[in-house]
Amino acid sequence: MNADVFRKWLMYGYSALLLSFIILPLLIVVPMSLTSSNSLAFPTPGYSLRWYEELWIDQRWPNALWNSLVIALSTTLLSCVLGIPAAIGLAWGNFPGKKVIYAIIAAPLVVPVVIVGVAAFSFFATLGLVGSKLSIILTHTAMAVPVMLTTVVASLSTFDRTLVRAAASLGAGTMRTFFKVILPLIAPGVVTGAIVAFIISFDEVVVASFLSVGNERTLPRMIFSGVRESVSPAIAAVAVLLILFSAILLALIGWLQVRSQRMRMRVVA
């Protein structure tokens, strides 16, 4: 049995090592970003918040954050408007060509993002829309809608369709049934899909660098062009803020899943 114990500890030791390889880089930038010096170095020579302050003083960073938020929120909204009805249609409908439809909608997930970026650039250039937020929002929506659609389809799979008939027999119209019966019940799936759509757009850099110029630059675009010149402590500070932001979103999704599980248990009980 000694070999078994040894193997077990070997496995856990290895896992700890590999997990630190995955996680540690994300943590080690936190102290590094708090440096008081002009360049990034380890160990950090002295601590201060000057680079975080710098981010607020330099107009370009808050401006880029604002652009990113506007684009990501619009993308999320548009993905919901396009994705939720389509998910209902695909989950409940019985029509030919469903496979083709899925293939068409999933295409943006497969095509390498550089090709998407270049193609979007040449397309929106002919419309005179390069440099506008609209061009980025539309392309990001095409990239986010497949994910939105799959999460909503998944949450519809446990949905009891007799509820829709019940609502109709009680005199509710289509819209009212949707907002009062369907939407509340699939809300966890919708919110998860919406958060993922938001993240896809908020983090996206390649399409944004092809389509955004000057004042319209998004946050990832600013980081991307900044890094190509030099990795300053300001960029480390932005990275830390973004990691914090994703941690919050991840916690939110975890909380939502626990909540929806509890809700389902209550329905069963």
């Binding site: 997990l19 880089p25 380890f42 068409i104 390498p112 090709i115 392309t139 983090d203 960029i235």
Partner: protein
Amino acid sequence: MVLALLVLPVVLFVVLIFLWPVARFLALSVDNSDMSGNLPRTIVALSQDVPESGLPSEAVFVALVEDLAAAKRAGREGVLAQLVNQRLVGTRFLIIKTAKDAADGKLDMRPVRESLIDRHSGWSNPALWQELSRQKGAFTDYYLLNSVDLMRGEDNAIASVPPDRAVFLDVLLRTIWISAVVTVLCALLALPLAQAIVSAPPTWSRLMFALVLFPLWTSLLVRTVIWIIVLQRNGPVNATLMGLGIVGEPLNLVYTRFSLYVAMVQVLLPMMVLSIVAVMRRVPATYMRAALSLGASWLTAWRRVQLPLILPGILSGGAIVFVFSLGYYITPTLVGGPTDQMVSSYIAFYTNNTLNWGLGAALSLQLLLILLMFAFLFLTANAILKRRTAA
């Protein structure tokens, strides 16, 4: 069918905003209309011409001057110069200057052939005329051939490009090689971790799973940038190595193939762990125990019982990692050196920096085809595997 109508908007949206632009861009890989459309008379004249002494006859020169004058007046001479220059480097200013002179009427003196060559000696270059005589219609295979280091040589036969210009096959092989290495590394690293996640007590298992998942929620860009910070000359890795006395002076870790592998593996490892864990969870732990109780050593039991059962998970994880890697752009651009760039970087380079859209489109088409081919291979392998386990 009301429900089908609900799906219509999103399908139209994806077709209009995504498929149409991509298709239009890919079509540029065979498009020759900017060339043939700007030299209509020259092309006709060249096709009827019987060349003597390597240069075309007077009629062709007259047609050329007319074409260039028309192009200049339409403001298209820059595009044309760019296209000709792509095929024969160093001809850009020749085209632009000749077009200006043609539009100004400075080339009307007969014979046009002699006066043109007198003014712009570049037109006495037979290679240029050979190139122009290849421009026949609205389509060209020039970019597609170029993207696999081929060209039309003498007598229009397909031949290899000179070795100093042969870069794209190397880039393609490098892209496939880097993706394969990353995939194998991910699979080897992920297997023990997945096993640990599945066999650990629930609390630990959940914690480990969360730690694996977390990076998936931080952006690819941020994770790549962090590796630059961690691996730079005065970063934590070099500080640790020097502190332990392993190296005397900081190593150049970043902007190398090594840093590219490290960053790509860290970024893609969670996907591999996820797909292996998903399959492993469905394999009952009793199978391994049965094999062990029947006298197999642990390694034999794992290799003969566990591995075949989780192979579909490794395969689908491998497919995801490999296909994702093929299209990688951000990570090679930021943490790779000049010789670590993959196809995507070249697509961006040719469309952004040199405005050679035809070549960018041809490389994109090549990348897409390779990607589809490998996706198909993985799907077939998976299907065979399924049939064998079912039998």
